[in-house]
Symmetry: C2
Subunit: 474 residues, 2 copies
């Protein structure tokens, strides 16, 4: 048993490094006021009444030092049409952004404007001013209710617990609801602390989780039972169900993948056994030589696809993941074992899929398993298909099943990925593209060493063991 | 649909070749009388009253031309003790054998004597003269009741049908209840014809078989239901249940393996589609060049074990099969895929196991699949075991399962089979022996071309496709 002092000590150290300092608060507050002033000016010029509000983790005061992000929601009258909001509302924000400084137009469900003030990034998002959570029309409208709810439930101590949890999730690579991460959103982190009171309590709970996990964020047990049933129907694929208290028919944790949940549970168990800073700060200095040496006798293929146009990150990541998944199936159908696959994109120029296979080349005949002897027509079809000059068999094995050994169609996984690209490069923005297939060798790695994102992702994907995992057994 | 004429034509041709001629009958009859005289002389000299009887397929008149085998059962008084039978009884037969000519002592459940007269082989077996099948004491005592039963049920037409069936089974390599074959005994062939009336009817039935198959050889449906249940308990591994009408609590088809059953069913289907002589006479002239060419990029390992002493065939075959099975498990546990394995022995000097593997050498790391994230202790144990300098991972995959890639203990299947021989060479008469492992190459095959049994078995095992299977789709 680890003493509570040990956890307290570690968590205090973490907090000292991630809790924003007063200067950071005032810098962000000033930036908000600056933005607010400009937006209100444009609103006045257009004779529009709207509220400029602060939302998100700054408004919840659960943000981390260094995360200079502001969520500025401009709430327009509820009698505006959706078209007005997207057109007139959006243009007012755009005009304000132009006056504020550097900006760009972004898309999630709706277009919005992102402005940059020094190292601060602020999103200006148009929404409705909604009086009750029953009147929510767009995902955006829900946000002010989240702020209200979270602030009514969190005290300062719990806010620090949220910060610790967020840093933990970030370091595990499972913080964020985007398709890229399929992890835990900031709001989910807050709901979990509201439910369990503290980071450590949550982790103790998590060690008992087995999907599907249901977390009662509602006061009412009867109500929760009903909601559980409904959420299970509405989100059949979810592994974690957390009814959004503001809108209980929504699963706030819908984004969490099985892998993210599993990482969280295993890391929780490891942290409780061996509390350590490595669970929060794990800047892996990857030794290039170790990475290169680990390549011996492995087959790592990197599929490279160009990005033809600028697209919202969720679109790019969603498509490249789908292409990656289809590609894995093509490999498996051709008897290459896919040991690991992952995707990465710089979101600008290129997308990548990394496959690790058992072998890149298979020159030996392939084993085809046919039907059992009693499956009349299938037996005849299998025999007909597998009697070939260069086939061994068919024969009947000791399980009474027909089997045969036959020369394989593709001996090289690389050729397969090139020649059958039409079969897996199927998403709207990739379709028709020709992939470049790189074999990951020492030479290839040396060529991309310096190239930031891709190089770091590739090295991590090759070694694969997270640093915190080593703590689990020491 | 194939016309009945076509079947009739083929079956008539078969019968013309397998039905013994009158000269053969008289030759065997003469041999029996010769044996009988000698045995009766020794009986008289010893003042013992016993009956010298003819049993088996000659007595049933279901034998095939060229099968010059006689089963001579000498039935001693039922008041003799088992010891008397095995000692006094056996010695009388031994003395007779010495006078008859060339002989050898053989063992199945009991010792017996085999004598040779020209090209005729006769087994002299001591048993009891039992009045009712309720009084059966040894397996031998059952035989006279079989003869009685079969002869009461078969007419001459059905006897020919048995012959056709036996030849069909023989050619498929599934005729015989010995451990070597695990197929259909002559008595089972007779029971099947008694049940279904003809070869063709039986085959039509067999195309609908799916194991476990129960065949009602009793007159009574109620009785059969009861027996079925009991046989299933007594022979839980059987795939085919045929109550012995002479002793219904015995499954006459206990020896039939799943593979033998499956071959019979598939071949039945093929024959009914395309009746052809190849189903009965399939002397494969194996083209050596084709065999050698088929070796390309395959991994075939032949394990050779010496036989230290003369043993009953069932013992040798049983042990070598068990060793083969254990060896396959050792290979599989070390991540070599066993695509095929089979055994063979000359029953005198050597035993062999042939393994076909996906690869003989695997230099790439091995994928270890660990527990799912929620299996608390197993997760920790897996992590502890797989964190090694030269391991990739462990990592958590998208199914929430822990996995790792690690250098394998054995990169060479050949070394594995040598170094771990203690793990599979475990049967009484092989234990402690050192196996020789041959890689089956062109050179190796050329060395053993001429060597009869082993060479023929090996070539068949390499190509594996039975000739009749090609008929199925023409």
């Amino acid at each position: 048993m680890v003493s509570n002092d040990k956890y307290d000590y570690i968590e205090k150290l973490v907090l000292a490094r991630i809790k924003p300092k007063e200067e950071e608060y005032s810098k962000l507050r000033k930036a908000f006021n600056f933005i607010k002033k400009h937006v209100e000016n444009v609103l006045k010029e257009n004779n529009v009444k709207a509220k400029v509000t602060l939302q998100g983790s700054f408004a919840h005061d659960t943000w981390l030092s260094g995360d200079n992000d502001l969520d500025v929601f401009v709430l327009f009258p509820p009698d505006w049409s959706i078209e007005d909001l997207r057109d007139k509302g959006f243009n007012i924000l755009l005009e304000a952004a132009k006056r504020i400084g550097k900006y760009e137009i972004r898309y999630s469900q709706h277009p919005y404007v992102r402005v940059y003030i020094g190292d601060i990034r602020a999103d200006l998002v148009p929404g409705y001013e909604v009086v009750s959570n029953k009147d929510i029309r767009t995902a955006v409208d829900r946000t002010p209710f989240h702020t209200q709810y979270v602030n009514s439930k969190l005290d300062d101590k719990m806010r620090d617990q949220v910060r610790i949890l967020k840093k933990f999730l970030k370091n595990l690579g499972i913080y964020g609801a985007e398709i890229k991460t399929k992890g835990f959103s900031g709001y989910v982190a807050e709901l979990l602390i509201i439910k369990y009171g503290s980071f450590r309590n949550l982790l103790r709970e998590a060690t008992n989780w087995k999907h599907p996990v249901y977390i009662n964020t509602l006061d009412n047990e009867e109500e929760f039972k009903k909601i559980k049933r409904l959420l299970k129907q509405k989100y059949p694929e979810s592994v974690l169900y957390i009814p959004d208290p503001v809108d209980p028919y929504r699963n706030a944790a819908a984004s969490v993948s099985l892998r993210s949940l599993a990482i969280f549970v295993v890391a929780s168990r490891c942290y409780l056994r061996k509390p350590d800073l490595v669970f929060f700060f794990d800047e892996q200095t990857l030794n290039q030589e170790i990475v290169v040496e680990s390549l011996d006798n492995r087959c790592l293929l990197l599929v490279e696809l160009p990005l033809k146009e600028k697209l919202p990150p969720d679109i790019i990541w969603g498509e490249i993941q789908r292409v990656g998944d289809r590609g894995a199936k093509v490999l498996i159908n051709n008897d290459f074992n896919v040991i690991y696959w992952d995707v990465w994109t710089d979101e600008k120029e290129k997308s990548y899929i990394l496959y690790e296979l058992d072998y890149c080349e298979k020159k030996n005949p392939r084993l085809y398993k046919g039907p059992e002897y009693w499956a009349k027509d299938r037996v005849l079809r299998f025999i007909a298909k597998h009697i070939e000059h260069n086939a061994i068999g068919p024969w009947i094995n000791m399980h009474g099943q027909l089997v045969s050994l036959k020369k394989r169609k593709y001996e090289s996984a690389q050729n397969l990925l090139i020649e059958r690209s039409w079969e897996y490069i199927v998403t709207p923005h990739f379709k028709g593209l020709t992939p470049k297939i790189h074999v990951v060798t020492r030479d290839f790695l040396e060529k991309i060493w310096g190239q930031g994102g891709i190089s770091k992702w590739l090295m991590k994907s090759i070694l694969r063991r997270p640093k915190w995992m080593e703590k689990c057994i020491e």
